[in-house]
Amino acid sequence: MKNLYTKPSKEEQLKNMNPKKETIQFLLSYSKALCITEYQKMKFDTVLN
């Protein structure tokens, strides 16, 4: 059986790089939960559950 003795190059490793689905899901949920309330000249952040 043919053995591979080389590792993929850094460029090849970078080709299939993507963040985890959980991270994306967290960001989308965070975005939905974040609410900015303006009062006069102030802005308040609220993260709703």
């Binding site: 850094k10 970078l14 790089m17 963040p19 991270t23 994306i24 960001l27 989308l28 975005s31 974040l34």
Partner: protein
């Protein structure tokens, strides 16, 4: 299909107006470039994941607060945020370096409690005894300077005052004491290392 064609600028605008789906499109459109950029700097998937997340948290906060100026440069702007966060990561790590144990390197091979174990302590005591015997073979004036400097921890100024010779003479005697000590050690083939 429409969303796929939409420009970054129009998606950002839609997102600011409350269309959460636009953010999802923006992330999936650019995630690969941003994540690979971060990974190419940090070479650690977990850290790259953290930096990626922090980058988009900043993006979301800025967009929702209405602080983003649309100049048609959404991706360069996000890349700049990621770049700054990578720099922050390295700065933080420089102050508080984190080591991970892996097959090639074990932190405990570098860190130790500094105390000698019993065997090494015995060897050290023996060596110190041997050295004390050896220095007795030195000429009186050299022995005097060496004892004052090493065992009494006196400065050369104090030694010169005590022995009534100049500092240079005291320095010279110390130098000759060490040279002679080395000669004695070589002559007797002694190994004085722990």
């Amino acid at each position: 299909m429409e969303n796929a064609k939409a420009t970054d600028a129009s998606l950002v605008k839609a997102y600011i107006q409350g269309n959460e789906n636009s953010l999802s499109i923006l992330i999936s459109r650019h995630q690969h470039r941003i994540y690979s950029f971060i990974y190419s700097k940090v070479f650690d998937k977990d850290i790259a994941e953290d930096v990626f997340q922090d980058t988009f948290i900043k993006v979301i906060n800025t967009l929702k607060r209405g602080k983003y100026n649309e100049e048609g440069k959404f991706l360069p702007w996000v890349m700049r945020i990621a770049h700054n966060l990578v720099i922050d990561h390295f700065r933080r790590n420089k102050r508080m370096p984190m080591f991970e144990n892996n097959g090639d390197f074990n932190i405990f091979s570098v860190l130790s409690d500094g105390d000698l174990d019993i065997e090494r302590q015995l060897i050290k005591d023996q060596i110190e005894c041997d050295v004390q015997e050896l220095i007795k073979e030195l000429p009186e004036d050299q022995l005097e300077v060496l004892t004052m400097r090493i065992y009494k921890d006196m400065s050369f100024k104090e030694i010169s005052e005590r022995t009534g010779v100049s500092i240079n003479t005291a320095l010279g005697r110390m130098r000759y004491a060490l040279i002679n000590l080395r000669k004695i050690i070589e002559k007797h083939n002694l190994i004085l290392t722990n």
